[in-house]
């Protein structure tokens, strides 16, 4: 029983196992990939690097995550994000694993490009790039809601079709609909968004932690380069440091990204795309590993960067395509109500 449970757990957790040369990369998620809800669950992604079945030590790892590509038929709720570069994360690994928490924005197949550059002493393994994919289904609740909308439009169309087939003149009903449509037409227009970034570094006892965003104004669909540098007496502390990075969505009050990485030379960077046009905070904490005086002296340095993300509205063709699909459902309902149902009823009566 225990073996059976353990096997099931392994089946659900291990997504992809890629082997290139002597290097094996395993990717696991928590929760299991089948249960991940995009834009709702913060997913813990763990990459395990094995060389000859042993954890790979002292290697530099670069992870690039790309969003699912465009769908020809149905758009996701973040169409600007589709097919774009979401995340670039670099770290030194010492125990063969790299973990980060990420809120995947949309359904579809994500691409992970993992580049492993081993320690110069490890001459047995050349730099290796492994491509992996992760397929996420849509949130079941959102699928249910979408089907309810489609069913509602179909039923409304069918009822309208029945009325139109029975009544030769529906003047009052039509006039009411026209008046309602005119009221709603006033809703068409454009919207502008503005944003600003602030930086709040803390600098105790000659140490400082700097975080710089490039560009300063984040925009949906474009990655932002977050450069993090640990300084001592205004000079970059060129020694290994441990960095913890958190990105928080302020409007929905939810975590979007979290990771702990190891930077070899006191500086690191992260490319991250803010996929929702809302205020975020980027919180970085860092601590030098080898400086014992610092460890005894103070808690980790902390810097907070406020990011106002500029929203990009969906392209008009995407909007019109989705609108056409919804209206198509309505038209099918009207045809069924106006033509098919009367014929069926007539045959039933005969």
């Amino acid at each position: 029983m225990v073996i059976c449970c353990f096997s099931l757990q392994l089946l659900s957790a291990v997504l992809v196992q890629a082997e290139q040369g002597a290097l094996t990369v395993e990717m696991t998620t928590m929760p299991a990939v089948e249960t991940i809800r995009p834009d709702a669950d913060l997913v813990r992604v763990t990459l395990t690097f094995l060389q000859h079945a042993q954890p790979l030590n002292q290697a530099h790892v670069q992870i690039d995550v790309t969003a699912p590509s465009h769908s020809r038929l149905l758009s996701t709720d973040f169409p600007i994000v589709e097919g774009t570069h979401l995340l670039s994360l670099a770290s030194v690994i010492t125990d063969g694993t790299l973990t980060f928490d990420y809120l995947f924005p949309i359904r579809g197949t994500y691409t992970f490009d993992v580049t492993v550059t081993p320690d110069p002493k490890n001459a047995a393994m050349p730099p290796t790039t492994v491509h992996k994919t992760l397929h996420l289904r849509e949130n079941p609740a959102e699928v249910r809601h979408a089907w309810l909308l489609v069913a509602g439009l179909f039923v409304f169309g069918a009822i309208s079709g029945i009325f139109m087939a029975r009544s030769a003149a529906a003047k009052e009903q039509t006039a009411t609909i026209i008046a309602f449509a005119i009221l709603c037409a006033a809703a068409l227009g454009a919207e502008a968004a503005d944003a600003a970034a602030t930086q709040t570094p803390q600098a105790p006892a000659g140490w400082s932690l700097e975080i710089q965003a490039t560009p300063e104004q984040a925009t949906v669909g474009e990655p932002v380069q977050l450069a993090i540098a640990l300084k001592k007496d205004d000079k970059i502390f060129t020694a290994p440091m441990q960095v913890s990075l958190d990105i928080h969505h302020l409007e929905d009050d939810k975590a979007v990204f979290h990771t702990q990485t190891l930077a070899a030379d006191g500086a690191t960077s992260l490319r991250f795309q803010f996929f929702d046009g809302a205020p975020h905070t980027v919180t970085v904490t860092a601590r030098p590993i080898e400086d014992m005086a610092f460890a005894q002296e103070a808690p980790p340095l902390r810097a907070v960067l406020g990011m106002e993300v500029m929203a990009i509205h969906p392209p008009l063709p995407v909007k019109l395509r989705t609108l056409a699909l919804l209206i198509g459902v309505l038209v099918v309902g009207m045809l069924v109500g106006g033509f098919v149902l009367p014929v069926v009823k007539e045959r039933g009566g005969a």
Partner: protein
């Protein structure tokens, strides 16, 4: 009483019926026109609910848009 068909001559009655039929035909909306009007009206309503960028409407229906999974938003 002048337009009451029961107290009129057959000629006046004929004119009255002819006038009523004219009014009916003038105000009659064909099924195709009804369907087109309904489609246009529903397009306006659906666009306003799900696709407009007007802040007040967009913000009010923002959660609804994301709850459906197929409505493009920012």
């Amino acid at each position: 009483m002048q337009h009451d068909p029961t107290h009129q001559t057959p000629q006046q009655q004929f004119k009255y019926i002819h006038r009523q039929l004219y009014i009916f035909r003038k105000h009659h909306v064909s099924v195709v026109k009804q369907a087109l009007i309904l489609i246009v009206a529903c397009s306006f309503v659906l666009y306003s609910l799900f696709f407009t960028n007007v802040p007040a409407i967009h913000d009010f229906f923002h959660e609804l848009r994301h709850a459906l999974g197929i409505i493009p938003c920012h």
